[in-house]
Symmetry: C2
Subunit: 197 residues, 2 copies
Amino acid sequence: MIGIVGGTGDFGQGLAERLRRIGEEVVLGSRTPRDEFVANRDCAKDSDIVFLSVPPGGLAEMCAGLATDLEGKIVVSVASPVVFRDGKAAAEPGELSLAELGAKAAPGARMVAGFHTVSAKALARVDEPLDEDVLLCGDDEDAKGIVADLAERLVEGRAVDAGRLEVARWLEPLTAVLLNVNRRYKVSSGVRVTGLP
Amino acid sequence: MIGIVGGTGDFGQGLAERLRRIGEEVVLGSRTPRDEFVANRDCAKDSDIVFLSVPPGGLAEMCAGLATDLEGKIVVSVASPVVFRDGKAAAEPGELSLAELGAKAAPGARMVAGFHTVSAKALARVDEPLDEDVLLCGDDEDAKGIVADLAERLVEGRAVDAGRLEVARWLEPLTAVLLNVNRRYKVSSGVRVTGLP
């Protein structure tokens, strides 16, 4: 079972539908359970892999609140420290990445950071293939491998291992770059890494 | 004439040879002029476009020292705030990007930031095409357009406009991500932006 905590946005909705289409069972969590949404705590408890699709400011707190439920679970942090100034995307990264803050708040979670370059809007257009790679980082190699296998079933490209969890510090802000590309070209851009074997 | 200030490294050497192969005249600058290297000041003075291929810690100081010579010139900052810890690439970005610090130090320069995702090693293998895009940002649209035209003659991919100079804050650290990918896969990776028109 794959859980999406904070599954009400474009990213969570698109991801859920795409996961269902590749045959995965999905449970969506929300702070206000209703209709198809269960409580975030139940979403975390019932899942083997938990995507954290929550605003950057709420990620560490969310992890702290769910720390017991996330124990031993593979947790995927997709958040970026993006803010908007005068309608333009910017990033306000801290010293640590959001993924590292989440890992500190939920030390039993097997944290993987990734999907920062996958546009929520592109994800939500579930009938269009995702012509891009997924970049992943994390310190738990097994967890990262499992997320990589899943990612490669979701995108046309490949899952690229960008190393240890710390690398998320420099990967997360890339979302702000792509959002500026999107603004300029009126697109939903992604990334492919070239030069790989 | 295209100048490469600090042209003694892999990046500068590879860039110079590739520029020559597409018919551009190139002048290489160094702090210690000798053989093919002129003084950085002469390199800047004699060029229309000046690539700053200097270590991140020295970029702002270099710009301050060459401020008069860079007046009105198109200046390309390719530097990233990369450091190595235990042999692993990391980034230590400040509040401003290196390109913005350079622009503040040489306010007459028409600053463009880019090429951060182009591997110095790949660049130095001058017989191999560069299968990748070049991401550019800058506030001077004309300068950025001229650098874009040049970039598209150097790589197989395209020049991607990532917006204003500020965006370099989130683009520059990407070099550290790619260096970690390189370490993992033993390659010289680059990036292509997908989803563009």
